[in-house]
Symmetry: C2
Subunit: 378 residues, 2 copies
């Protein structure tokens, strides 16, 4: 049995300008452009091995050792697009094996616990598309491939680049101009760091797709957000990144997180992703910045209560020192060499705040998908 | 010693279309019109006795037996306006005692615990203005007097009427057209009821005046709310009230509460008034309406975590039956004769929800300020 195999890793990305709202659900076309920071794969990545063989009888996927379905319209759309591009490659060179006609086996593994509630679908689809593109030896660049990843999971398109990434919403009905582009590579600002506070929550969050649909359909404020607020913020944030202006970047990041959660709350019925612990973390970050006299840390929250706190390495001692004071008893501090700072007196932020958090993940800005020789097997 | 005395009671009102944002802080002129329901004074009212005497040496105020200052610019503005109107009365009839030149003693008492966190300043200033207007035998109607109460506390102007009340924002710089008017009297829809869930909270809420200022200054979405969302909703809500269309009234009420809290969250730094218990109550109300197949209950939240739930008496058994299931162990059910319903299975709403609530107040729509012979003394 001949099996063709290729492996890639792909990163998680955390939006600083949020994607919320689809103008086309099937194609995952957004109602606004978004911006994200790609996180280091040392801490958070999906490794995927794609293999094709004429002996395989069906497309199959194993995720973290468990077989999962590839029958969702989104997964099928990705595979179909990739096969079509492979067929073009084969048409131009008849010596190549007809991989486009073979079934695929995809084996995927995350290096972080799924239970953490971190959006793993972005890294997952980015790794799937990257590994199959490598297997198929596709000539397309990352922006082109990002359109395929986007069909799997909207925000996955941003995981095809490292550093700072923009997802340009595009205007075309077929989505051919809705793709990820690099704003700045990792090397532009390698000292950007992130601390993720994994917030415990007993309730099940509203899934993001249905949440977005509800917001688009019912929130009055949402229309203003996508038409007036985000387009301006998109340009401002790109400028702040290019200028490495942390204070501006941080302010825009926090404001956009709040704006996104505001339109969730303005939906009917309202959608809540922030819980009381999230709110205490928000207050803690504002207090830290206030005491420092400038903005040295920025929070952002996706469709869940987890906090991602961005800061520059030059302020690591101040930011992590404070977080260590409140959350030092949790797991995840192995890499931290600094000291613990005195507790801040913060209205509404008690010393029990750590009880709402299950662990911390200390990480940093990172690279886009990487090829690897490592092969995952079932 | 000759003392002239008059007493009035005034009600609490709970906005269904929220007042949030001042265009003039000194005059309490709002950035949008608002609508409220006046609650029954049987359950929630301020009783105020105003007295004037040539022997008094200074203006004094006692609230719930404790002397309080009348030196705030707001209190002084109210007393000054009322004295000016009295002076006009005296000028047209020289036989009248010169009460406008006498100092005032004001004794005030709430029939509900201040600790409940219910906005008592509205009832307080309405009772103060009503009692002094009665003492001064002022000929002005309630809308005219509402402009004076408004200077004391914006929402107080709405407590000068019973039933359903609109506060028309006005356009004039001096605020002379920013006043309360009756949308419909109590007799129009006397079966409207309210259940107040007093939510416990360990944190101190952002005071509404500074909160409003922050929202006006920093929230992008706020501008859209006041310019586009509220003006339309104001007309729709008045129509729903006049048509006694509970479902429409309820939907608008819930949406406006959410919209108000959304612009709070969109402020920078964000303002949070809803806590996790508030959110569970919101979910409970939506679930009740969903199971019923129509809207029979509406929540609304002011600048704090307390929930006010409006419903029509015809659905009392369904609404209170459900609330009794979850909150029956709390104080405040003395007047309830109905039964307890089976618990609903609600995602995120556990049976522990009652722990976040300190008591329930069962009340209904009510009358405006009432004259009374009862006299409070220090």
């Amino acid at each position: 049995m001949t099996v063709y195999t290729a492996s890639c890793t792909a990163p998680v990305n955390i939006a600083t300008l949020k994607y919320w709202g689809k103008r086309d659900k099937a194609l995952n076309l957004p109602t606004n452009s978004s911006i994200s920071v790609t996180l280091s794969q040392k801490d958070l990545r999906t490794l995927t091995t794609a293999s094709a063989s004429s002996d395989y009888t069906s497309d199959k996927l194993w995720l973290n050792g468990k077989e999962e379905s590839l029958e969702s319209p989104r997964s099928k759309a990705c595979l179909q697009d990739l096969r079509q591009l492979r067929a073009q490659v084969e048409a131009s060179n008849s010596d190549l094996p007809k991989l486009s006609q073979y079934k695929l086996h995809i084996v995927s593994e995350n290096n972080f616990p799924t239970a953490a509630g971190l959006a793993s679908s972005a890294a997952g689809f980015a790794a799937l598309v990257s590994s199959i593109a490598k297997l198929y030896k596709l000539p397309q660049d990352m922006s082109e491939l990002s359109k395929i990843a986007r069909k799997g999971s909207g925000s996955a398109c941003r995981s095809l680049f490292g550093g700072f990434v923009a997802w340009e919403m595009g205007e075309s009905i077929d989505g051919e101009d809705s793709k990820a582009v690099e704003v700045a590579p990792l090397s532009h600002w390698p000292t950007l760091k992130a601390a993720i506070l994994v917030v415990s929550d007993d309730k099940k969050d509203t899934p993001s797709t249905s949440g977005m649909q509800l917001t688009v359909a019912t929130s009055d404020l949402f229309q203003y957000r996508i038409k007036d607020v985000v387009p301006k913020r998109f340009e401002e944030m790109k400028s702040a990144i290019l200028a490495k202006d942390f204070e501006k970047f941080a302010e825009l990041t926090m404001k956009d997180s709040n704006s996104f959660h505001a339109v969730c709350l303005d939906s009917y019925p309202p959608i809540f992703y922030l819980n009381d612990t999230s709110k205490k973390i928000i207050k803690l970050v504002h207090k830290l910045n206030e005491l420092e006299g400038k903005i040295i840390a920025a929070y952002t929250f996706d469709a869940g209560p987890n906090a991602v706190i961005y800061y520059d390495e030059s302020n690591e001692q101040k930011v992590l020192g404070l977080l260590n004071t409140y959350f030092g008893s949790l797991g995840g501090w192995e890499s931290y060499q600094g000291e613990t700072l005195p507790k801040l007196e913060i209205e509404g932020t008690d010393s029990e705040i750590y009880k709402g958090v299950s662990r911390i993940i200390l990480t940093s800005i990172g690279e886009g998908p990487q090829e690897t020789d490592q092969v995952l097997t079932v």
